[in-house]
């Protein structure tokens, strides 16, 4: 007979004493994670506005109905998917490429690797503010470079929907390529050298070795990278807040940004909680789907 998946199977060593020793951590988890999560879930069934504390009421699935008809939510969802579809593949391809370039023991390579991961250490908000200056139409260094050195016309990065979209993509890539590169590099370092030596003896070329050996062997690491990148791109908020504020219009507004607007501009906490839950649900679903696809790919390989 199959056992229920929900049954608590964990039992710490030492019985009651074990539970007692675990209790501080459990209490912290319950207070800081479980209660807020459940509270937010409950909130999504309410019309709960901080500005009208006396009018808050249980509305059941009303917020859900509202969401289905909310054009702005649909636009935000479309934008979130667009960012995932563009940013994740680009960051993985460029990150893996950068890792392959850095996977050589040359003089000064350690220092170069350390420098290459510095974007990861900068706070997303600071990144956004800096890129805002870089993308400035008149005084930004990017337009200066394009117009003065390459004789291209200045680009209205933050003024047109397409310009703003690609500006956020470039910024996002700058932030995330080092992350992909670092994980891939550590994956490359742990690959067994014997397999590559044998392939060399058999006369395999560099491309053949990469596509038939390196890539399949890296798949476990790449799976994790793709999943993490998908997850973080869906949550894209800070950089957008600092760079475009979701604009112009709603061109760069993501679901996470819209949830922020609902929660902290409109104070409609009930609806904001629902949107956040829907985002979590979508992320989980997409990640599950990706996992299945990538696992299937690994089996084929």
């Amino acid at each position: 007979m199959k056992r229920s998946g929900f049954k608590l199977r964990y039992s710490p060593h030492g019985g009651l004493e074990g539970w007692l020793l675990l209790s501080p951590l459990l209490i912290i988890l319950v207070v800081l994670a479980l209660i807020p999560v459940l509270y937010a879930l409950g909130l999504s069934f309410f019309e709960y506005n901080v500005l009208r504390p006396l009018q808050n009421r249980f509305t059941g699935l009303e917020n859900f109905g509202l969401m289905l008809e909310d054009e702005r939510f649909h636009t935000a969802l479309f934008n979130s998917f667009r960012y995932v579809l563009v940013c994740v593949p680009l960051s993985v391809v460029l990150g893996v490429g950068a890792a392959l370039l850095l996977d050589h023991e040359l003089p000064g390579m350690r220092l170069f690797r350390a420098l290459a991961i510095t974007p990861m250490m900068v706070m997303p908000l600071v990144v956004g503010l800096n890129f805002r200056m870089l993308f400035d139409y008149q005084d930004g260094i990017i337009n200066w470079f394009l117009s003065r050195l390459l004789w291209f016309p200045r680009v209205r990065w933050l003024d047109t929907p397409e310009g703003a979209f690609w500006a956020t993509v470039i910024m996002e890539l700058w932030c995330t390529i080092p992350f992909v590169m670092m994980l891939t590099l550590s994956g490359l370092k742990s690959l067994p050298t014997e397999v590559f030596d044998a392939a060399k003896v058999d006369g395999a070329g560099k491309f053949q070795m990469f596509f038939y050996l390196t890539l399949p062997l890296l798949m476990p690491v790449l799976t994790i990278i793709i999943l993490l990148r998908t997850l973080t791109t869906f949550k894209l908020f800070d950089q957008i807040y600092a760079l475009t504020e979701g604009g112009p219009g709603s061109a760069t507004e993501t679901v996470a940004y819209y949830a922020y607007v609902l929660g902290f501009k409109r104070w409609d906490m009930g609806y904001a909680a629902l949107i956040s839950y829907v985002l979590v649900f979508i992320i989980a679903l997409v990640c599950l789907l990706l996992l299945k696809l990538l696992q299937a790919e690994r089996k084929v390989i």
Binding site: E47, N49, V50, L51, R52, P53, Q55, E71, R72, D136, Y137, Q138, R154, R156, L158, D159, T160, P161, T244, E245, G246, G247, P248, G249, S250, A251, V261, F264, K265, R266, W267, D268
Partner: protein, 506 residues
Amino acid sequence: MRERIHESFSRRRLLKYLAVTGVTLGSSNLLAACGDATATTSSSTTTAATTTTTSAATTAASTTATTAATVSGTSLKTKAAILNAAKKYSGTKLSLSVVGTSPPLAAVNEEWQKATGVTLETTAIPPNEIFEKLILNFTSGAGNFDLVSVTSSNFGAFAPYLSDLTQFNTTYKFDEVQLVDMFKWYGKIGNGSYGIPYDGDQYMLFYRTDWLQKVGGDPGKPPATWDEVFTFAQKMNGQDLDGNGTKAIGYAPRMSRTGTWQFFATKLASFGGDWFDANWQPTINSPEAVAALEYATKLKDVGPANSVSIGFADLDKLFLGGSVGFMEQFSTTATRAQFDTINSKISGKFGVMALPAGPGGKRQYSPGGVSLAITKTSKNQELAYLCARFLACEETAVAQAVAGTGVEPTMVSAYNNPDFQAKWGDGKSSWKVALEEGTGQIFKQLTIPEFASLQEVLDLKLSEAYSGQTPPKAALDNVASNWRQILGRAGYYAGDKPKYEVQNKK
């Protein structure tokens, strides 16, 4: 007999003495009303009278004194009177939160602390975060501020957490302060008065006098309508008017997503539009409003290439840098343009005027401003009130305005002050423009609690219209539909809400 005479004399004299004391104390209030800084406060008057004896006669005298103080009130017309009244609180501490862009001058703070012995702790909050920070502060019950500076549009949301100052205003004769009409609505919600007007904001149209002359205009007679402004801006745009090879920008519009509704509201006012009808049905998509948005969008044609991302701070940079012919901006910029010789390239080359008329006539948009309010949780209500009066009084207001802090006076007397007239704005006619604009027909901002939500939706759709994602009419239709939904959820159509005071009555 001697004893009887003494007894009789004593009673009569006592009553007479107390009556004279009552009249004298009443007169001191009258003197104070006339600006005598040495007048005592009503509370100290009452206390002094009630602590003499417990006899019936004393009680009568005390009542007389209290009545006299209440009827006439205590004048706080001068800064000295305010500081004097606050001295009794020496040794205490006040906590003030201010809009980050307009904190009181350090010298003002020092003067207060030195004269009263009361410490004033100031926390500056960035303007775009002030609503969020304060609403969280209030709803969480943190209660760490005595005084808060509140933008006019936020009073609807904050009123439940603020003290009604009506009684203080009566006691301390706030009606002595003659406010400019445009600022009279600051801090008023229903019948309550929740703020002391502190920073009087108003938009002005800035223009380059030399450029206007070069394109055939008369600097002494600037364009009177929006259409004329556009025509002149068109003539300036793209021309090398300074002869240095730089192409002029005709008009600098504020179109970046956050705060662009202000740029639209100035047109909505003069195009004859309104926010709602009497029953809170949005009229933001009325033909007047659509025409206003079409005009605002058109200004992009005579603006910089990156008009859609031009924000509040960019406007000053462009105008002071000498690359723009026209711009609408808060009056504060005039002081910087004229007197900040390090950053301004246009000192002596620009003029200011009231915003021009549109098809709906000459109606000025009142963008709100900042008032000082007292939190209900403050344990020093009277002291906080006195501090608010000090920070907003004429002398302080003039000192802060001419220093270019961005805090502009709200009272008529400050604008009539010769020192102010010479050092504020362009140092010539700015004060006159401010008074003229401030006393004309006014179109007010909204003060309902849902204002921030409505504004956010409007900002978004205006930005879509400017960037060409949505046509103006469709954008405003969408705003109207969203506003209806927001107000519907807030119960505005349930019937028990007071009617909207229609502002565009013909």
